[in-house]
């Protein structure tokens, strides 16, 4: 569990010393995310897919699409579900078996970031109201862990969604049937960008790598939309933030997010 080794303690001291001088362990500026590489259309069995590297954190994401019954009370909307799994190849400590609380939080934060911006217009994914709708299932498989899975999964999910092709369905005999050859781009309203920041001591850094992740005091993930409004927040970690720090984080999320959004827009 939390038994910190001496090496971890020394690394924390080193990271803190550097931060006092305004530097990070890998040479980045405090508000600088790692480089992001995005490849799309890599899985032909998926209706949309992406492979994203955020530094050495790496995710493969697929979007599967099929007709489904709508959730009760929201018969006028399609279904959007986003999951995440940390594959055991990704990290020596990854666990097999049902997802633990960290993985569940990861999936739910990524899901909520996209859902709350209203990225996909779910009202356009209705085959027949209250009977049959289109479901988008976005599955994130983390294949290498180097900190900040939240943003890597979020970018991969957004890229896979932006490039997915939605089959057309019709009800025949009360059953939804796919119309061959008719596919369309997804109804996209806005592009969500998740930016995760850590507080280490009194310093706020953007996109912590795994050394920074291991020694942070607290973290926050803020998702903004194309209008640069704030649509989802999630604080984590075993300490807190001051009010001023939270305001600073929101500003960083908007400024950093704006640059990353351009890169995501380019894949569509």
């Amino acid at each position: 569990m939390a038994n910190k080794t001496i090496i971890e303690q020394l690394k924390r001291e080193q990271i803190l010393d550097l931060l006092q001088e305004g530097k990070r362990i890998d040479g980045r500026a405090l508000d600088e995310p790692r480089s992001i590489s995005i490849e799309t259309g890599i899985i032909s069995n998926a209706e949309g897919s992406a492979r994203v590297k955020l530094g050495d954190t790496e995710v493969v994401t697929g979007v599967k699409i099929h007709p489904d019954k709508p959730f009760p009370d929201v018969g006028d909307k399609g279904i959007f579900i986003c999951t995440a799994e940390i594959l055991p190849i990704a990290d020596p400590t990854a666990e097999l078996g049902p997802p633990n609380e960290n993985v569940i939080e990861l999936a739910r934060v990524v899901d909520r970031g996209i859902r709350e911006t209203g990225m996909i217009d779910l009202t356009k994914l209705v085959i027949k109201e209250n009977k049959s709708v289109v479901g988008l299932f976005v599955d994130n498989s983390v294949i290498n862990v180097d900190g900040n899975l939240f943003d890597a999964c979020s970018y991969a999910s957004v890229a896979a969604l932006l490039t997915c092709m939605i089959p057309k369905y019709e009800l025949q005999d009360d059953q939804p049937v796919q119309i061959e050859g008719e596919k369309s781009k997804p109804p996209v309203n806005t592009i969500p960008v998740s930016v995760t920041m850590a507080r280490i001591g009194e310093h706020i850094i953007v996109d912590p790598n795994s050394d920074e992740w291991a020694c942070m005091n607290a973290r926050i993930t803020i998702t903004t939309n194309s209008d640069e409004n704030i649509c989802a927040l999630q604080k984590g970690g075993s300490d807190g933030f001051t009010f001023e720090q939270l305001i600073k984080c929101s500003e960083l999320a908007i400024s950093t997010g704006s640059k990353i959004r351009k890169q995501l827009e380019a894949v569509a």
């Binding site: 709350e116 649509c231 999630q234 604080k235």
Partner: protein, 241 residues
């Protein structure tokens, strides 16, 4: 993303659908020490929420390999009774409950002094008898009182309250109707003396200005909750609890 509603959520006089003003919380009552067996406990009614918090520990951890030789461990389970919601809830823990358990734990960890209890756990159980909007904040409020009631050393209380946006206005303590129809809901937890925010989440959409206003509003609510938590503990100890 909210749903449409026929209710007037905010009238021209600034009165909300349940008669409250925009800066007013729902009714809150907290009672400390309500369970016989638990080492500490509290019961909260916060609007329509009815939640019991119970604490056991510090106590030995099984299996042992989960223990930490340097410090104690805070464990937390947020759990809804099948009858606590309009549609009967399956008794198995949902993914939502597991996530809420984690964010509640992380909102309380900064306040709980665990170093004095190496190799042990403090187990915090939050049992939702009736759920309404804002149940995670209410659970944190009861939890904090239950931990204090159990004699766990704490740096500060943790007081939680949400703020949100209704009809483009920032309001305190969003209720269920407002949340369903509403534009934004932001639960916040605060250590009132240390002025540290230990929980913040958001569903909805806020401009940067609204975000700031929303945080400020929630913090005011947290401080109101803190007074009620204090009174609950005082009442318990004055009654020789």
């Amino acid at each position: 993303m909210g749903r449409k509603t026929d209710i007037t959520l905010l009238d021209e006089k600034g009165i909300r659908c349940d008669g409250r003003k925009i800066d007013q919380t729902r009714n809150i009552t907290i009672k400390a020490g309500i369970l016989k067996n638990a080492d500490g406990s509290a019961y909260i009614e916060f609007g329509g929420n009815k939640i019991i918090a119970g604490v056991y520990g510090p106590r030995d951890i099984h299996p042992k390999h989960l223990a930490d030789s340097d410090t104690g461990v805070l464990r937390c389970r947020y759990h809804m009774q099948p009858f606590s919601v309009p549609e009967r809830k399956n008794p198995a823990p949902s993914r939502r409950e597991i996530e809420i358990s984690k964010v509640i734990k992380e909102s309380l960890q900064p306040a709980v002094i665990l170093d004095d209890f190496p190799r042990t756990a403090i187990d915090l159980y939050l049992e939702v008898l009736q759920a309404d909007g804002g149940s995670r904040c209410a659970a944190i409020d009861a939890a904090s009182v239950a931990l204090a009631d159990a004699g766990i050393p704490m740096r500060d209380m943790v007081s939680a309250c949400a703020a949100g946006k209704v009809e483009n206005t920032i309001v305190l303590d969003v209720n269920n109707e407002e949340d369903q129809a509403g534009q934004a809901d932001m639960p916040v937890a605060l250590m009132p003396h240390l002025e540290k925010i230990t929980l913040v989440q958001l569903d909805g959409m806020l401009t940067p200005d609204e975000y700031k206003k929303c945080l400020e509003t929630a913090i005011i609510g947290c401080k109101q909750v803190y007074e009620i938590q204090r009174s609950a503990l005082k009442a318990k100890y004055e009654n020789g609890g």
